[in-house]
């Protein structure tokens, strides 16, 4: 790894050159390039909103299940009340799954963009 000496980052804050200027970036400044960029941003935002809403729906479902079915507190799973299992354990795999799905799709969106831009 090369080490880059960085002094007061204030000036670097204005788009520090962490990668060299490529002809691809020139293409991105063009009108056609911007169409691709805008569509990439839109699809990434749509993906994030969809995953977030899906997760929040599951969260709401779990929460209302525990609130509306008080009998769950009387039931036991390995001796632990079921409402504790639902809120204290079962939500975490949902979080992890959402994150994994998002990462896969976000990387796919970026790969699609790369193909579009670099094929020219």
């Amino acid at each position: 790894m090369t080490r880059v000496r960085v002094t007061a980052p204030q000036s670097g804050a204005k788009v520090a050159p962490t990668r060299p200027y490529h002809s691809r970036e020139a293409a991105e400044d063009s009108d056609v390039g911007q169409v691709f960029v805008r569509s990439l941003i839109r699809s990434q935002l749509r993906l994030a909103v969809v995953v977030a809403s899906g997760f929040l729906l599951v969260l709401a479902a779990y929460g209302s299940m525990v609130a509306l079915v008080p009998q769950l507190a009387q039931m036991r799973l390995l001796g632990i009340p079921v409402n504790w299992v639902i809120l204290g354990v079962a939500l975490y795999p949902v979080i992890g799954l959402s994150a994994w799905l998002y990462n896969r799709s976000a990387a796919r969106n970026e790969a699609r963009y790369r193909d579009l831009v670099e094929d020219k």
Partner: protein, 491 residues
């Protein structure tokens, strides 16, 4: 608890922290190293470090304490702390890494091309950092009082001293190693006693004998729907604006690896939070008197000694005390580093010497606060900091990353609205005390939308102030890095 055991545990953690800090110092050479480890930290290291930094006094002591107090209502805290990282992954991780900025003020200035925005952001960041350090120091005070019998202030001062030495000496590079070590220490310190206690309580048929788990030791009423929703808004959207969390993402080499790191962090947090939850459940069954005596936050510290006597109990207690100090040290040092970054760049010219002065300033001010204020429930007071972050930094980040129409005037107006509304609610609920109505005690559900609304409306009205560089910057934030031709490919 045996005072010698507690003291030995604290000294052990302090020495290990300092030792790893100095080891890091030897390989930290440039200003870049000093601030963000030159962006060469591997995902697993980085994820452990993020986990180590994030799991604070609130997670280590506060979650179990709050579960002891309020039962299943408190289970939303660990869920929210973890899901906050999911939101961070979805909306900010990769773009923020690609922005190439070091701190949140760097980002807002680059995005909006305005020094005024930078100054307002810096003020908010410093306020958030200070507010967040205070409960860490109060947790340290509580821990030292319970484990050694020394006065509380000794714990707070000890934490500030250790953090001061490591940060001033090593900067971010050594902090990364220290934080990663402290994640694993915290996990072990909670997991070993909990597993031990659970095994002890497991019946012959393999199920736990937890007959009274549903009992309510304090008789507190259950939280209403509004409280729960508002809490979740604060935790979900507060995490992505925490200054010490954001600065960590700059240590990833590119946007994709920032996302990969976040995925690992989510796994690490999910594993961790099982244990405070289990502690709280055990506490409800075996130590309900702690809730009634007003010391629920001490549950994690006292539980091993209570259920296991003799030398094994002492050893487990020592482990928990060590983990607790790891929590105070790691979160405080993470906050001090990121605050020092902001203070030194804006006030002191950005040199390494300025960073050191700023680090001292960042640690000493909250110490004064910790001395002059009473500690509340740790998880609750940290939750309020999340509400403040969600009302100020979250809107400017989300809109800055995803909306071209954000203007400098809109950003400032929105941040100030969020800060005044949320700050006002927090101050008045502190003054009113426990009689404060729910919408003041837990304000995020209305202050966050208000901040967003003001930011959008003022930006619309000042459309002409949207900087001309916005197209360029949005491209930079969202377009994947060109796969760098590695040496292997060139050969």
């Amino acid at each position: 608890m045996n005072p010698a055991v507690g003291l030995a545990a604290f000294l052990g953690v302090a020495l290990a922290t300092a030792a790893i800090g100095f080891y890091g110092l030897r390989i930290s050479r440039t200003t870049g190293d000093f601030y963000v480890a030159s962006r060469t930290v591997r995902p697993w290291w980085n994820a452990s470090a993020i986990g180590g930094e994030y799991l604070s006094a609130a997670s280590f002591l506060g979650v179990a304490g709050l579960i002891l107090l309020t039962g299943t209502d408190a289970l939303w805290f660990p869920v929210g702390y973890t899901a906050g990282y999911l939101m961070l992954l979805l909306f900010v991780a990769a773009p923020l890494r690609r922005s190439g900025a070091y701190t949140i003020p760097d980002f807002t200035e680059a995005r909006l091309q305005s020094k005024a925005v930078r100054r307002v952001t810096s003020l908010v960041v410093v306020a958030v950092g200070w507010l967040y350090i205070v409960p860490q120091l109060q947790g340290a005070g509580l821990t030292i009082r319970i484990s050694t019998g020394l006065p509380s202030w000794a714990g707070s001062i000890a934490v500030v001293a250790v953090v001061g030495v490591t940060v001033v000496a090593g900067g971010m590079r050594s902090i990364t190693f220290v934080q990663a070590f402290q994640y694993w220490l915290k996990l072990t310190a909670l997991a070993v006693p909990v597993v031990f206690l659970l095994l002890k309580q497991t019946g012959a048929d393999g199920s736990l004998a937890l007959a009274e788990a549903s009992s309510n030791p304090t008789g507190l009423p259950a939280a209403g729907l509004y409280q729960t929703v508002s809490l979740l808004v604060a935790l979900l959207f507060g995490t992505l604006g925490l200054p010490h969390v954001l600065v960590r993402f700059y240590t990833n080499p590119d946007g994709q690896s920032a996302r990969r790191t976040t995925l690992i962090v989510l796994g690490l947090l999910s594993v961790f939070y099982v244990f405070p939850t289990a502690s709280g459940l055990l506490g409800r069954v075996f130590a309900p008197e702690l809730a009634r005596s007003g010391r629920p936050d001490a549950l994690v510290l006292l539980l091993p000694g209570k259920l296991v006597g003799g030398v094994p109990g002492d050893l487990l207690s020592a482990l928990v005390v060590a983990g607790a100090f790891a929590a105070f040290l790691s979160t405080t040092s993470g906050l001090v580093v990121s605050l020092a970054g902001v203070i030194s760049q804006d006030l002191l010219g950005g040199s390494v010497r300025g960073f050191r002065v700023a680090a001292a300033l960042a640690a000493v001010v909250p110490l004064a606060f910790a001395f002059t204020t009473d500690s509340m429930a740790l998880a609750g007071s940290v939750g309020l900091v999340f509400a403040f972050t969600a009302s100020t930094i979250c809107p400017v980040l989300l809109l800055g990353i995803w909306w071209r129409g954000l203007s400098d005037a809109g950003a400032i107006a929105g941040m100030l609205t969020g800060a005044i509304l949320c700050g006002g609610a927090l101050v008045s609920s502190t003054i009113i005390g426990s009689a404060a109505p729910g919408w003041i005690a837990q304000p995020a559900a209305w202050t966050v939308p208000a901040a967003f609304a003001v930011m959008v409306l003022v930006s619309r009205a000042t459309n002409d102030r949207v900087p001309g560089t916005v197209t360029r910057l949005m491209t930079r934030l969202h377009v994947p890095e060109r796969p760098v031709a590695t040496k292997r490919q060139l050969r």
